[in-house]
Symmetry: C2
Subunit: 274 residues, 2 copies
């Protein structure tokens, strides 16, 4: 099997393009895989987004994102579950490889991360039947521990895979190098994920030194310290050969560059350092 | 056994006081445990620092810090080891509970975190005989994963304890809630650390939401989302009953407050939320 190439997570060019424009720009550079965010899909309408995907035979490496399960009151948790079911339907309409789950952090005023984690497992269990029926795998994305409070209380691959093992089929992980590169157990947990067929996506960018913002200072591949080739080899050895999906939030640099420069840089770096 | 109270890591008031002034300010509020940084000790001289500690019967809950082992060339690594031996001697002169190790991150231009971790284990092994001879326990402080690149490539309690188990006696961990609060394996690893007698220090502060700077935006206890009482209970149940050592780096808030206000707030919060 060979490596399949590049996907562009459309957050990477969200300040430059809407979804239609982003696809046009990708196609001009022979990029045929994307991962849109739901707000980008909604902005042009789901049916139009699905038409663009189908007409251009695009691979959708994931829809971003479901999740955000923890909440203080039951009504809010139920609302999150409803919204996740809608996200599954949207992922199905786009023929996406998976629905990426950013599971959510601590509810307001809470300091009980164990309880938040229980709400996450309960929430995923609640939507899993719908996902199985729709044929959309759910991809838990463990987020870097610096997001444990406000974005995702699933913070290591090991923890995500424990949840997968608890819940059974139809669920796996999105491995984003930005979130997991530091993990001393990365090698063994990637192998574990592969052995159980749970690698659903492979996201790339880079960790800059220094990093000046917790959310919006991700680097282009090659500009930071992540061993991208090494992690790719682990993921391929574990049996995942899908595209590497570039997802860069960069308020001060890449979001200010012309979109075509961002895309051509992604291609160049994919070929040189990934 | 009962809980022993409060220690002030002098970084918490480093912008307000030198070591002598900090001790005076602590004593005025009946705080009798401190943890100085080496630059603060050097600024007044080691013998004067040791005199202040002895004359006032202060408990020194740790000397900050040794570590910083990884380096590209052997000469730099040897220099780091020499400097760590000096730090051990200083800790002994101050009768410190331990020498805290911030182990170091990736050497310049390196993306090989596994190799950096080997250099850390090798470095600690090299200084351990000197530490044992001096009667100074070495406390590996696992740092939050957001510091893996530039400060410490030991990022979980589990990883730190694995190194301890490898190296034997004379070494343990400093548990700083800021670095470990998010860890899904925190409970079990605190218990493990206690069972092997390896808890050497307990640092506190809080994780603010939002956090606006990766290094200098730590919160006062109670102003963030860490379950301080819960973690204290785990640490006490594991057999450590030393002071909770407040270590707050806060460029925009606490470093700008009068030192006595910082200290009185530490006391108040220790009594109410820790």
């Amino acid at each position: 099997m060979t490596f399949d190439g590049l996907s562009i997570n459309l957050a990477t060019v969200r300040e430059q393009y809407n979804m239609r424009q982003a696809v046009d720009a990708c196609l001009k550079q022979d990029i045929v895989a994307i991962a849109p965010w739901r707000d980008q899909v909604h902005a042009i309408g789901l049916s139009e987004a699905a038409r663009i995907v189908a007409d251009n035979k695009l691979r959708v490496t994931g829809l971003c994102r479901g999740g955000m399960f923890p909440a203080t009151d039951a009504a809010a948790r139920a609302k999150a579950i409803d919204d996740n079911r809608k996200a599954i339907d949207e992922a199905a309409a786009l023929n996406a490889d998976c629905l990426v789950l950013v599971v959510g952090g601590l509810p307001a005023e809470s300091r009980d991360i164990a309880h938040a984690r229980e709400m996450v497992a309960d929430g995923i269990a609640a939507i899993l039947p719908h996902a199985l029926a729709a044929g959309i795998p759910l991809a838990i994305e463990p987020l870097h521990p610096m997001y444990a409070a406000d974005r995702a209380c699933v913070n290591t691959l090991e923890q995500a895979l424990d949840i997968c093992d608890l819940l059974g089929d139809g669920i796996g992980v999105a491995i984003d190098v930005y979130h997991v590169w530091w993990d001393p157990k990365l090698n063994e947990q990637i192998a574990r994920a592969g052995a159980s067929g749970r690698i659903l996506a492979h996201h790339i960018c880079d960790w800059l030194v220094p990093t000046t913002d917790l959310l919006l200072d991700r680097g282009m591949m090659g500009d930071g310290v992540i061993d991208l080739k090494g992690i790719r080899r682990l993921i391929e050895a574990a049996g995942y050969h899908g595209p590497q999906e570039v997802e860069i939030f960069s308020a001060k640099n890449w979001w200010k560059q012309p979109g075509e420069v961002v895309l051509s840089t992604c291609i160049e770096r994919l070929n040189s350092v990934c």
